[in-house]
């Protein structure tokens, strides 16, 4: 059973629908107990970094960190990936999980923001989440802040600069783009996550 964490940050239907399509059992929940009981966890989310505040209020944050450190496969999508970093300039009062180093920042003024649309991935070898995904595959992004390229970055995209498209360390995965909206390429990644 995969738990999709609902903390009030946008519409989770698309993520659920993609797992339904892959015929994988999921539960959408805002309860820490559901996170604790799940085999795998997906933390989606769109919008402002401040909406992550809800994780701290509800006890979800501890449940997520406990599950992740216990080795449960964890996938953060979009804002959910940004949460895995130390924080974001979008809302400096709220700390991220700090699992990956660095902070999320705005794009340079040389490009329009938000970054919306299909962009290509420069993929590093050895990623479990991106297994079988071809170099330069296109994925759908929609975001205003970006995470830095770090040692754990498994795929990067270029938009005014090079930023982290996907990160991975052990059982913890994050993607800035929306696999649930990235056609067959995205579905293949979600399938990989189910099989981790």
């Amino acid at each position: 059973m995969i738990a999709i964490v609902d903390y009030g940050a946008g519409n989770l239907n698309s993520v659920k629908k993609a797992f339904d399509y892959l015929d994988v059992e999921v539960v959408v929940s805002d309860r820490p107990e559901a996170v604790a009981a799940a085999d795998k966890i997906v933390l989606p989310g769109v919008g402002h970094f401040s909406s992550l505040q809800a994780l701290n209020r509800t006890g979800l944050c501890e449940a997520l960190l406990r599950s992740a450190s216990a080795g449960k496969p964890f996938l953060g999508i979009c804002l959910g990936m940004q949460w895995l970093f130390e924080g974001s300039d979008e809302c400096i009062e709220i700390a991220g999980a700090g699992i990956f180093p660095g902070k999320c920042r705005q794009f340079p003024t040389s490009v329009k923001s938000p970054h919306v649309g299909w962009n290509s991935l420069v993929i590093q070898e050895g990623s479990r989440l991106l297994r079988g995904i071809a170099q330069d595959s296109f994925v759908y992004y929609s975001h205003s802040f970006h995470a830095p390229v770090v040692v754990e970055t498994t795929a990067a995209s270029e938009y005014g600069l090079l930023f982290a498209g996907a990160v991975e360390r052990g059982n913890i995965f994050g993607v800035q783009f929306h696999p649930e909206k990235s056609g067959d390429v995205g579905l293949a990644m979600l399938k990989n996550f189910c099989e981790v």
């Binding site: 698309s14 992004y141 067959d184």
Partner: protein, 253 residues
């Protein structure tokens, strides 16, 4: 590299996709779910489903169509037509849309943009603007292009962006249905005035038109309905031509 998006628009009437010229001589083009899936397979980067009748009586028909279409569609999916209040938008999102498009309701009540964006995120709110060249500027029209508002399209696009819109869908009423090319002048004026993406619409007739609106019109995306039905223009072929013209597109896809 961020690519230019090709968006297929499905006009829906009574639960069926239809195609005509300026909403007249409507021909049946199939069921929404099948049309959407076929367009996605042939390389459409996004799908827009527009309920062109949009009366409260057929709201259930719309929601059923959205649900059926969304189930096996894994590219961004926008739904428009008859969304007047936050609850209308919530029902459409609940049925599986990723974004909603609002037009007349946003002009009447710009705060609606912020209310929907506040709950579902700016990325989920597309403000559709129908505009027409009047004198030296571009005037906004509402109610399916039947009512002039006296408002300037560039100013309205800026206000919509400030209210929380995530994208602007800009339709040239002068070009709509004519297949004589996009209004690159208008698209460029709006695209340069806002930082959010601008989707050009109205007038697509050939691959050349798309090349021009991306190069000269500075559009981030371009939408077309009529040319993608009945095999008049194939998206795969269109993308190949854009790629050959060195416009970055999702190709192969």
């Amino acid at each position: 590299m961020l690519t230019k998006r090709i968006i297929a628009c499905l006009d829906m009437d009574g639960g069926r996709v239809v195609k005509g010229v300026r909403f007249k001589n409507l021909r049946d083009a199939g069921a929404p779910a099948e049309c959407a899936a076929a367009h996605a397979r042939s390389g459409a980067d996004e799908i827009v489903l527009l309920d062109i009748t949009a009366t409260s009586g057929n709201r259930r028909t719309l929601l059923d169509a959205v649900r059926g279409t969304a189930r096996s569609l894994f590219v961004p999916f926008t739904v428009g037509g008859g969304i007047r209040v936050l609850e209308d938008a919530a029902a459409v999102f609940d049925a599986g849309a990723d974004k909603i498009a609002i037009n007349s309701a946003a002009v009447r009540d710009p705060a609606l943009i912020g209310r929907i964006a506040g709950r579902f995120g700016s990325q989920a709110v597309v403000v559709a603007i129908d505009a027409k060249k009047v004198g030296g500027s571009f005037e906004v029209f509402v109610a399916g292009g039947s009512e002039p508002t006296g408002r300037d399209a560039i100013q309205w696009a800026q206000e919509a962006a400030a209210c929380g819109a995530g994208e602007i869908l800009l339709t040239s009423m002068d070009r709509d249905g004519t297949k004589s090319g996009f209004d690159c002048q208008m698209v460029r004026a709006v695209a340069e005035a806002v930082s959010i993406p601008v989707i050009a619409s109205g007038g697509a007739g050939s691959a050349r038109d798309f090349i021009e609106v991306f190069r000269d019109g500075c559009a981030d995306a371009a939408l077309a309905a009529s040319i993608f039905h009945f095999g008049i223009e194939n998206i795969v072929e269109l993308k190949r031509e854009l790629h050959d013209a060195e416009i970055a597109v999702r190709w192969p896809c």
